[in-house]
Symmetry: C2
């Protein structure tokens, strides 16, 4: 934070969400100097998110490769947050080994979960089928009609806002990292190589390597040659935060995910009484309005699973934009432009994939070697 | 606003909602000097309200006497806002002669409206029965299933926030009125007569007459003798504000009230694109939390009437406390303590009753005469 101007860092990171911030930290740990630019770091999707670390519960057909990365990042989490707590001088990153319970509202929803269970077992993933009454024994607030579900004891959560705060605290103490609260106007290309960027106010930052970590805006930085533009688009999510008054605690102890008449809903209980309720998935370009319909559907589905939410204060409504990619998998690694890396496209898994992405990108920045676990997610896979 | 301290006004008004502010203005017009005390004037129920001026649509059995006051205040509104506009130097009080359409969702709800229509006609009130298709011709956003309703062309609306702003502007220009942003700690009683009040900071204000206009808090001012305490209680209302984007305007042109599976819902469209959607009625003591259940029910019922609200941004959620009285009618006039008047208990009609109440209280303050229209609402009626 005290480097002299103008800076010529080893690495320029464009974007200060969880991915950019964690990458800055891990790159500094590897000995690299970093400048991170964002007009409002930590305020977009990373701030809105629910922080589920649920690779097994959120498994989708055809995403076995992504599962490998998701599991690796989930496994890395306990160590990652322990290191971060130390690096930050004691900030609690809000990791909670709460386990996840996925439940079904009706018979059709039950069939969806049963299919998921079959698929999970075929991959040797640990998930236990519970009857409705077994599920209610674990979570007494579940609706009487809930048709059973899946207990995934290894799917946890992190309070993404506490995680952001811990990252800011760690970077504050890290002399190799400078955060510039400004927008990048244009990438600088010199001799067919990314060479840094120019900020909105005209400041030029020269850097040996540049990382695009600007979420759904990663494809809109001027000056990036067409063949190096990450193919990301905004996927809107609306999300609510309820408060659980002392007298009702513990309201839920596990993350509860539900399939409600084919809609997916989830409730993530924080240790300090916040209950996060999400989320819509909408293709609405860059619109971030909270809508009457979005809030209605979230409350309707959550209420079907947990009728008792009715009494809880609704303390926040928010919408943010996930960075989606053509195959719903992240875009991590060197782009077609030498000196330019991408770390974006994390879609619904940005919080989960923060440790694995930050470690891998730091490794690439420090050594040029691409770790096996992220190799399938190269930006180059979209080339025709 | 420029009177020397310590002030000894003719009148002390405790409470700066619409009733208190309008009473201050009307009393000043009658030549009286006024000090109004409120730690946060214009921020509670008066700010939350929807501003419906709908005495005919909101008619209830057994409330014929209240109807007379409601109608008188509704008739007074156009002149009241014209005078206020002039007094404020041109502020628009947001009065809108939009008419009101009350619709029914199902056959049972239709029967409720038909009963209301019969009652309205028995009192010679003007209300026109419309079929479902006639109602949809007036308001094309109405749900296809809506079973007809009542058009009340004389039931209008005022933007209560614009009305508050106009009152503040008028009082700013009125040298006879001083607004003190502080809480009253205790009423002063001298020789069996109200004599002013002491503020939280110890400041004493001596006044010949004092008006209790503190909404649901009017019964909790220390120092008021038991027999003079207005019997008011808080009745919580949750209310939402949506925004109608330019491209959808006009979304609605009338205030739409609906009976939806026996629940009452309303949508009030403002000229500038705000759509107010209310309101719950809850006995929750002084709790003002916006709850998941309250927001859910409001959206559910409004959506049943006007499915298109789904697309509209939800820009505000709020809860406030109506001052309810034992007979749901206001409490206006001299109390059992000489020198102490009440102007409270307006329940769901505070905005509607602002002109009639302010005029009547100003009349009593100036002349001691109680206007016939408010005589039935004397605080003394609750004496055993």
């Amino acid at each position: 934070m005290t480097m002299p101007e103008p800076a010529s860092p080893d690495v320029l990171i464009i974007g200060g969400g969880l991915i950019g911030l964690a990458t800055a930290w891990r790159a500094a740990v590897r000995g690299l100097s970093v400048t991170l630019c964002d007009p409002a770091p930590g305020t977009h999707a990373s701030y809105a998110a629910a922080g589920m670390l649920t690779p097994v519960t959120e498994l989708h057909y055809g995403e076995e490769t992504l599962l490998g990365l998701n599991l690796a990042s989930a496994r890395r989490y306990p160590e990652f947050v322990a290191e971060l707590r130390e690096a930050s001088g004691g900030a609690d990153p809000g990791y909670r080994a709460s386990g996840t319970l996925a439940v079904a509202f009706d018979a059709d929803d039950r069939a969806v979960l049963a299919d998921l269970h079959t698929f999970q077992r075929s991959l040797d993933l640990k998930a236990e089928w519970l009857s409705g009454s077994e599920a209610r024994r674990l979570e007494p607030m579940l609706a009487p009609g809930v048709r059973g579900g899946l207990l995934v004891e290894g799917d946890h959560q992190v309070d993404n806002r506490m995680l952001l705060a811990a990252l800011f605290a760690a970077l504050e103490r890290e002399p190799k990292v400078r955060i510039v609260r400004a927008r990048v106007a244009e990438l600088t290309v010199a001799g067919d190589r990314a060479a840094g960027a120019v900020l909105d106010d005209g400041t030029a930052i020269a850097a040996g390597q540049t990382v695009l970590a600007a979420g759904c805006w990663s494809g809109r930085i001027r000056g990036v040659p067409q063949e190096a533009v990450p193919p990301v688009r905004p996927v809107k999510g609306q999300i609510l935060r309820l408060a659980v008054p002392e007298v009702y605690r513990p309201f839920l102890t596990h993350t509860v995910r539900g399939v409600v008449r084919s809609n997916h809903a989830y409730l993530v209980p924080r240790a300090h009484g916040e209950l996060v309720l999400g989320a819509t998935t909408e293709e609405q370009d860059y619109d971030t309005a909270v809508t009457a319909g979005g809030v209605y559907e979230l409350l309707r589905d959550a209420r079907a699973l947990i009728p008792g939410i009715t009494e809880l204060p609704l303390v926040e409504t928010r919408a943010a934009l996930r960075p989606g990619s053509p195959d719903n998998a992240p875009v991590i690694g060197p782009t077609a432009l030498p000196g330019l890396l991408a770390a974006t496209g994390h879609y619904r898994h940005g919080v989960l994939l923060t440790p694995a992405t930050a470690d891998a990108v730091a490794e690439i920045l420090a050594t040029g070697e691409i770790p096996d676990v992220v190799a399938p997610f190269s930006p180059l896979r979209f080339r025709k």
